[in-house]
Structure formats: structure tokens, C-alpha cells
Symmetry: none
Subunit: 197 residues, 4 copies
């Protein structure tokens, strides 16, 4: 294997480990030594891959947003009604919340809350554009096909992002009486009803 590939691989392993620790314990409660120890790596070497804790956090949000966006892209590129697609997107989101909860939690507990960390480098929503872009495409498509009502994009986007995020937050707080998958149908229906033409 080439050296460049090895380095890329290690970089990704750092991202994944840090993602998990940040999500679980919070950005400020996770220390660089914590991350390095879990990776069986020296603190100094970690800084050969990311120039600061903040920069690491920024790379993670890009990585996560990209990963989520990719899955939604598949839905966008397939055939289907708006109602079906909404159901698919909700399913993707909740499945990920179940299987890789750290990704969704990272949005909620790190990105959303530690503004100062993302201030320089993630202005606007540039670091989460991977995800947002796909939602935007989905919405435009369905408005184009007259399945969804034509309204301000942010009104629709806030519904998606906020609603799904809110449910995962409730899950994280252990206040949901049922497993998260239980809510897929209800929530898909609510979203569709909210947005349909």
C-alpha cells in the first residue's frame, strides 16, 4: 500500500474515533489525550494529521455530512413518489441514528452547540452542504413534479432537519417509550402532510 493511502486511512480512523468520543462525551469534555489513547497513538502524532482540535471537529462535520448526503443522493436518483421518498429519507436517518448514532449525535451535540469551534472555517452552512444540498435537490424535484407545495426552502428544510434531529435528541435522552423505528411511519406521514401540494 502506498504511503499516501496509509496516511489517508489513519486520518479516517482518527476522524471516526474522535467522532465517537465527541458525540458521547461532548467536545469540551473530550481531550486530545483521550482521542490519542483510544487510537494507541501519541498526542504529537495526532497533530501531524489535524492542526488543532477545532480543525479536527470541522473535518468531522464535513465527513459526517458527506456520508449522510451520499445516502440521500441514492434516494434522489431513484424513481419514486414524494411520499415514498420522504419515507425513505426518514428511514435512512433513523436507521443511521440506530446504527451509527454518533453521526447524528455529532450534529446535535457538537456542531449545533459549539458555534465558536466552527466559526472560522464553517461559516454559513458550508461544512454541512453535503447533506443540505441533497435535501434541497429532493425538495426542488418534488416541487417541480407538483407533488409538494412550493414554499420557502428553509421552511421545509427546518421541518426535516429539526423534526428528525429532535426525535433523535429525545431518543438520546431516553424519554422515547418505543424504539426509534416505531416512529418512522408516523413521522413520514406528518412530514408528507405538512409539505404536500
Amino acid at each position: 500500500m502506498k504511503i499516501a493511502d496509509k496516511k489517508a486511512l489513519k486520518r479516517e480512523s482518527i476522524i471516526q474515533t474522535a467522532l465517537q468520543l465527541f458525540s458521547t462525551n461532548g467536545f469540551h469534555k473530550t481531550t486530545i489525550p483521550d482521542i490519542a489513547t483510544k487510537l494507541q497513538m501519541s498526542v504529537g502524532n495526532l497533530y501531524n494529521y489535524f492542526s488543532s482540535k477545532d480543525m479536527l471537529a470541522q473535518e468531522i462535520i464535513k465527513y459526517t455530512s458527506e456520508a449522510l448526503g451520499e445516502k440521500i443522493r441514492v434516494v434522489n436518483m431513484a424513481e419514486g413518489t414524494a411520499e415514498e421518498k420522504i419515507h425513505q429519507i426518514v428511514t435512512i436517518y433513523f436507521t443511521m441514528a440506530k446504527e451509527k448514532p454518533e453521526m447524528i449525535e455529532y450534529f446535535l451535540r457538537v456542531y449545533l452547540s459549539n458555534r465558536e469551534v466552527f466559526a472560522d472555517g464553517c461559516e454559513g452552512m458550508v461544512c454541512v452542504s453535503g447533506f443540505i444540498t441533497e435535501i434541497m435537490i429532493f425538495f426542488d424535484d418534488c416541487v417541480g413534479s407538483a407533488e409538494l407545495r412550493n414554499q420557502d426552502f428553509f421552511s421545509a428544510f427546518g421541518l426535516f432537519m429539526g423534526y428528525l434531529g429532535g426525535m433523535v435528541f429525545l431518543k438520546g435522552e431516553n424519554v422515547l417509550p418505543k424504539e426509534i423505528e416505531f416512529y418512522i411511519d408516523d413521522i413520514s406521514r406528518n412530514i408528507y402532510n405538512a409539505l404536500k401540494a
Copy 2:
């Protein structure tokens, strides 16, 4: 004025100042000396009112939740259709986000993200029950009058809390092209469509 009253007054002024600083700068970036300085008070004395930084944060979330709950209680106790009441609640929320953004931001940036701070003392959603209870009452009433579809409470609550919170988050990120009030009608309609019978 009685001494007890004076103490209660000072207690509240601490809460309000800390609320503002925590919301603006984040929990971990706000220091106890920061709060004391802004209050023109000594750090030692501040500890006569709150036994720790965490306890102060917990009191703030109760205070904020209560304040928001109270406003919704007014809606609950007045006459009106479900559609009207949804519009009123959205208006209350966004008006507060405009006029006292620190309260909403505290939910998003402090309560939601610093789990460890609220772990001992705010288990479940006990510290935000002031707000949740009112949403619950609203929902029960409207289901009772057959205006809203009978569904799992959390499916409905997640919609409210997540959607509104998400919009305020977008506002905080300065990505909304319009003022937040602009979205009141759209969003009220979306919520009503989502939940109506």
C-alpha cells in the same frame, strides 16, 4: 423589603445574567468570574446563591422552561381552534426568539449539548417539564376535540420542538434570508397540516 425578597431578587439577576452569557458564549466558554464581573459581584458571593456552576445551569433551564410554559398556558386556557392555537404558539416561540433569543438559544446551545451538566438533577425531561407539559395539554385538548389526529405524543412533540428549534438554529447561523417572523405563517400551516385529523 424583606431580606428573603432581596435574596430572591439577586438570585434572579444571577440567573438572567448567566443565561445570557451561557447562551452567547457557551457553557464551557463562560467562566464564573465572567458572570460575577458582569454582575459586579464577587465570585465568592455568587457561591452563596448557587452551589456550583452545574447547579446554576440547571436552575436556568427550569427558569426558562417555566417562562416559556407560562406563555403557552395562556393559549391553552383561551378559546380557539387548533389551527389558531398552533399559530399562536409558533408566534410566541418566534417572538421570544427575536426578543429574548437567549432563552431559546439556551435550550439549543446549553441544555441540548452538555449532557453531563444536567445528568444529575435533570434526568429525563424533569427540568423542562414546564414547557413540555403545556405542549402536552395543548395536544391532548386538540385530539380530544378531534381537531388533531390521535397519534403518539412524541411524534407530535418532536415536530413542534424540533421544527421550531431548528428554525431558530438556522436564524442563529444567519442563513435565513428573511426575518424569523416571515416564516410564522408557513410553519404554522405546515404543522397544522402535519397534525390535523
Copy 3:
């Protein structure tokens, strides 16, 4: 004793201890814990008196410059010929180099060499003006009385500062075969010959 006085006293004791350590071991080789330990003080508390290591270094140069300037002021205010005054100033400088070598060494080994430390706050020669001002007064007086040749101030100042500093440097390197006092007469004569009208 008043609290403010106690604080001023402690402040000065920090300055003196740090002065000694910086002079002896160099700025970069002296750590904040080194200084705190020698003062039997906690690291944190030291930061209640000086906001950073750099600021401490800046306060020291002001303090030192002032102390040296004061001694020269006495010469300036007394009667005497230029030749006598030069001899007195050289004597003061070398006596200080003997008795409080850390002050002179601080000029040479800390102030002169660690430009970045003094870049913000000591621009130009503002932090050593206590000393420079007196040399300037001395020179102006003697030019005014026609005892010294009228020439560019910096040509004269460089002679004083450089020559005396250079000798103390040689002393510090242990290359001088004799005690520093031995050179007082020679050097005073050289300076006088260099500058006389």
C-alpha cells in the same frame, strides 16, 4: 497594611524573582512553574498578577530601566564636570553589574534578544525610556555646557550603552582577566575622549 499594598509588594517580589531566573537561565529556559516554585506560590495565582509570561517580561524591563534611570538621575542633578559624571555613570553601571548583575544581564540576555516577547507593548524603546531619558539629559547638559562635542544623540548613546553592555557581557562570559571595577578608569577615559568637545 492595606490589601492594595500587600498586592503591590507581592507583585514586586514576583518581578524580582522572575528577573533573577530570566537573567540566569534565559527567558525560554525559565518556566512559569520555576518562578512559582521559587516564590512558594501557585502557578495560577501568579497569573492573578501578570496576564502572561510576556507581560511579566515587559514589566521587568520597565522596572529595571526605571531603577537604573533613577541612579543616573542623581548624577544628572548633582554638580560636576562631564568627565566626572562619565566616571560616575560608569561606576554606577559596573557596581550594579557586580552587585545586582541580574539587572544588567536582563538587558543583554532577555530584552535585547527576545524581540518577539517585547514586540507588542515595548515598541521602539518605550519600556526602557527610564534609562534612556537620563542618558539623554546627561548628554544634552554636557553639550549645552560645551564640554562634549555636539553630535548625533544615537552616536553617543550607542557608545554608552554598547560599550558598558559589552563589558558586562565579557564579564558574564568569564573572559575578563580582572574584576570589572578594574576597567572603570580606562573605560571612563575612553568614553570621555570619544565624546569631549
Copy 4:
């Protein structure tokens, strides 16, 4: 070209690059990676040429001292009065301060201040003997020809080294109102007056 020559060439390029960085940014603020990067060379390879950062610093001072000494040697070997030679030496020094300021700055900002770096290997003035020896020869010659007063060598040497170094320091601080060449005549005259028989 022979391998040994190539190595010597690379060695010198390291010295020159390090000289410049150390002079500009200080010894402790210049890292080995900084030097390697500027040379487009790996840090590991740099250690094939110099066994440590300290050893590199010592080689630089020898190199610099030799270079300066060589120029003065030319003066020493030419005909001329003491007054002329002093003028020539001052001119050499200030010209170098103008054209290759890093050499003179290295004396002032690195050699003079970081005693610990030069402690093992440059005891006394052994690493700057290239320069000192020539000044010594100059002084002996002129005393021998009865042009300069016979006095302790260090009294005379301190004048040269300190005075010229002091002026360059003032130049580095940007406090000199004129270009450094402007001072050549004044300073040469002052030195001659100080030392003449």
C-alpha cells in the same frame, strides 16, 4: 563534483538558511522543521549533517565569526593609519549589518543570549576567535606603531564590539532616525578619539 564536495556545499546551505531563520525569529522560535522546510529537505536528513540543534548553532557562530574576521584581516594586511583602519573596520561592520544583517544579528540575538546552547563547545570565546583575533591584531599593530594608547585589550575590544553591536541593535529596533551608514564617520571618530595615543 566529488561527493565530499557536494556534502560540504549542502552543509553550508544549511548553515546559511539556519543563520537567517535563527537571526530573524530567534533560536527557540525557530524549529528544525522550519529549517528543513525552507531547505526543501527532510528533518531526518538534516541530522545527517549536524548532530543536534545546538551543534548547528555552534557551527553557525564559527562560520559567521570566520567570515567577519576574514574581512578585517584584509584591513590588517593593508597599509594605512590607525584612523583609516578604524574607519574601514566600522565601514565593514555596518555594511555587513546592511547587506547581511543576519550575521550581525546572530551575534546579538542568538550567541549573546542563549548561553546554554553554547556552553558545551564554545567555552570562553573559542567560537568567535576568528573575529576577535583580527581585532586583537589590529589593536596590537596600532599600539606597536604608537598610534593607539597602550591599554588593557578588553577595554579596547569592548569598545569596538559593544559600540558597533549596540548601533546595530538600535537599527534593529528601528529607533535610528537615519540609515546606519550615516553614523560611520561619527562613530569612527569617536572610537579613534577614545583609543588614540
